[in-house]
């Protein structure tokens, strides 16, 4: 990898990128697809492109995924009833 690889990657933009507002509006839907093992990126390519490019939104995605996964691990769904 070139020494300028990070700069080059930073400068590359994906025209499918939907931006923060649209990605965050369906973040819960996207995360549930990921947790269910479905092709979330295939169903929402613009969201996938954005989460790869936007650090803060990518961090929110990682946080929500961790939250939901921790619930599954704890088996706490039963607490709803």
């Amino acid at each position: 990898m070139s020494d300028l690889g990070r700069l080059e990657r930073f400068l590359q933009t994906d025209p499918r990128d939907v931006g923060c507002d649209e990605a965050m509006a369906i973040l819960h839907v996207y995360v549930d697809l990921v947790v269910a093992g479905e092709d979330a990126a295939g169903q929402h390519p613009g969201v996938a492109a954005h989460l790869l490019a936007c650090g803060p939104c990518g961090d929110d995605f990682a946080g929500l995924l961790a939250a939901v996964t921790s619930d599954h691990a704890a088996g706490s769904d039963a607490a709803a009833n």
Binding site: S2, D3, L4, R6, L7, E8, R9, F10, L11, Q12, T13, D17, G19, C20, D21, M24, I26, L27, H28, V29, V31, D32, V35, A53, C54, G55, P56, C57, D59, D60, A62, G63, L64, A66, A67, V68, S70, D71, S76, D77, A79, A80, N81
Partner: protein, 216 residues
């Protein structure tokens, strides 16, 4: 009414239970709110811990932020219960609120412990920002100078200020959004457009070639 019935028909059992309890009355509703709040606090604390390495906020302030985030998320969730359309599990929808609250609050608290001032303009650190080894500084000087020239000559004052804050000074995007009173998306759009503009200029000047192969 019709929308609510359609929503309920396709909900999973757990989500239906949350909505029934939160939409109920008296003790059942209060118990549901306590349960949900306890979950939001747990998630907020975990999220704060997960992000603790990337924020200058430390100590008891982090716990305070977690509890504030959970409380604000709780209010938002209860006021927007009617907006839940059943496109995801209810708890995933609810957790989204608390995760976004944590993000937003950490952004605002950044300025209480700020490691760098707004408009610092630390251009000498640009090679480090892109992971360029000191041995490669001389080789990369030309392309980095070209980046700076585009920023200074072709961006508007607002675009330049945002670019320098985010890329050169590495101020977190949410912190800058809070400081400037802008939405995250507005900041991202500025950076997105700047990236395209800089790339076009670097290609035009022979520093890069499509689709991203370094030439010099």
């Amino acid at each position: 009414m019709e929308r609510g019935r359609e929503r309920t028909e396709r909900l999973d059992e757990e989500s239906s239970a949350w909505l029934r309890r939160l939409g109920g009355a008296g003790g059942e509703r209060q118990a549901a709110e306590r349960d949900l709040h306890a979950r939001l606090v747990r998630i907020a604390l975990a999220e704060i811990r997960r992000r603790s390495g990337s924020t200058p906020v430390t100590g008891p302030e982090l716990d305070d932020i977690a509890h504030q985030a959970a409380a604000d998320a709780m209010l938002a969730i209860l006021s927007k219960l009617g907006d839940f359309r059943g496109e995801s599990r209810f708890i995933t929808w609810a957790y989204r609120f608390v995760i976004l609250e944590v993000s937003s609050k950490l952004g605002r608290h950044y300025w209480r412990n700020q490691p760098v001032a707004l408009d610092a303009g630390q251009w000498e650190l640009l090679p480090d920002r892109f992971g360029i080894d000191p041995a490669g500084h001389a080789e990369s000087a030309g392309i980095l100078a070209a980046v700076r020239k585009v920023v200074e000559d072709e961006l508007t004052e607002h675009q330049r200020r945002v670019f320098v804050a985010i890329v050169v000074d590495e101020i977190p995007l949410d912190a800058l959004a809070a400081e400037l009173g802008l939405r995250r998306n507005a900041i991202y759009k500025v950076i997105f457009d700047a990236r395209r503009k800089i790339r076009r200029a670097l290609v035009a000047n022979g520093y890069l070639e499509e689709p991203g192969v370094e030439r010099r």
